[in-house]
Symmetry: C2
Subunit: 269 residues, 2 copies
Amino acid sequence: MYRIGEFSKLGRVTVKALRYYDEIGLLKPSSVDEWTGYRYYASSQLYQLHEIVALKQLGFSIEQISAILADAAPASLVADRLAELEAQQRSVIDQLFRVRHYLKIKEEGYEMEYKVVVKEIPGCTVFSARRKVADYTEMMSLIPAVGAQVAADNPGVGCVEPEYCCNVCHDTEYRDQDMDIEICQAVTGPGQDGDGYEFKQLPPVTVASVLHRGPYEDLGAAYAYLVDWVETNGYRIAGDWREAFIDGVWNKDSAQDWLTEVQMPIAAA
Amino acid sequence: MYRIGEFSKLGRVTVKALRYYDEIGLLKPSSVDEWTGYRYYASSQLYQLHEIVALKQLGFSIEQISAILADAAPASLVADRLAELEAQQRSVIDQLFRVRHYLKIKEEGYEMEYKVVVKEIPGCTVFSARRKVADYTEMMSLIPAVGAQVAADNPGVGCVEPEYCCNVCHDTEYRDQDMDIEICQAVTGPGQDGDGYEFKQLPPVTVASVLHRGPYEDLGAAYAYLVDWVETNGYRIAGDWREAFIDGVWNKDSAQDWLTEVQMPIAAA
DNA sequence: GCTGGGGCCTCCCGTAACGGGAGAGTCAAG
DNA sequence: CTTGACTCTCCCGTTACGGGAGGCCCCAGC
């Protein structure tokens, strides 16, 4: 019979952990002194402790270990753990890519102007107007015009809250003049296609996204950054990118305050 | 100005998280209604939220993100995170090896008789007696005899608590007859070498360990298991293995209750 | 004017597996 | 008898929120 301190040395487990295992019933000492409360462990209990430590080293939770030792664990437990570990590995590799990219950017002397977020954009119904425009100013005047026309033609259709208005870029490289653009505005449901616009469904996509603050002529830097990011983080570009408008002429006087999100659809390389 | 629900949709962050960020001061809404307590966020705050989400995706803690955004983060933060991720990757790979080994063992139809634990054995001072013995019975009678002799020759030297008595195996493969063994008993300090024994220092080692329950003639299965485990888990054998005696003839009548730990020194392959 | 249904508020509890520390009792040696 | 090492129980703290109760706010419809 060992006292808790000796037993903890034998099993290389802390005293606190042993008391915790006692409390939750995972490993109760073989006897407890009725008067002093001292826990006494039998050497044969080292075997059970050893099993617990081994299962912990496989990454199982205490609850799962209790189930395994009670022979009450679901058959798929180990397979599930394997899948979980594989997911965790992908996540770690992903984060490694990103942190290394961060360090690379720093090393090259740039400030990290953009922070990239990977996120899912749900699908939505939009009306869309594909046009060729000379510049961003023309594009920005187009949006309310088309919006008004759609609203007039389709009284039952409204914009969703919060608003999502984006430009799907069909050009293969960044340009800010003579652009082939498709203005999209998320709406509550489909309506009748009209003169110069149509209703369509944007599919859900996974995108790498940056927020650009400032005038539109500086968007090129955001594109360059994103393209580099996608390449060095183990992804590839998987569709037409989008610009989503958050702040602009309509609510901010200074172009320095304009806020635009650039979304680049991605898939594993 | 957006209410919390709208803002949470724009940023793809839960309402609960936004309230939490407010509470800890990471991202306070740009205004709070004095009467109703409603939080109102400005669209420009999306930029900060985006930064927070991006840093979270690198795996930084909220506290670290606060420091980064306040420009009060230690310079080594990102490098530390990289090191942390690399350690995590090693750990995940390690666990993947083990879980796959577990599944392999099951697939081959064996019950998993042994659970392997990787642990560090600290260095210690021992007296050691290297002999050739015919079998385990002879070895077991040798231990108290040498122990008594050492105690008689060295009155100032005692055994450490808890006891650690092991047999360092110098044979290159498992055998249970005519063995070349070295009995070691951890003691409180060095003494004078005597007839048939000497004092030495066992170095600290990292070992893969299993606990074997039952008579010594079944130890072969434990050895076979350990050797296979070491190979399929990305390690190699890095020294003479040890058998540490926990329960045996001296305190258990039935050989079924004997408990022996087999320790195999390992290093990364 | 009334009602209903979201949305929002605060407050409190729970998470996993212990670690840290306070305050008090226990044990073996000198 | 004392001292110091060991042990006990109890309670709080950890992370980044999620869940839920109980109650206020607001808008649309009747």
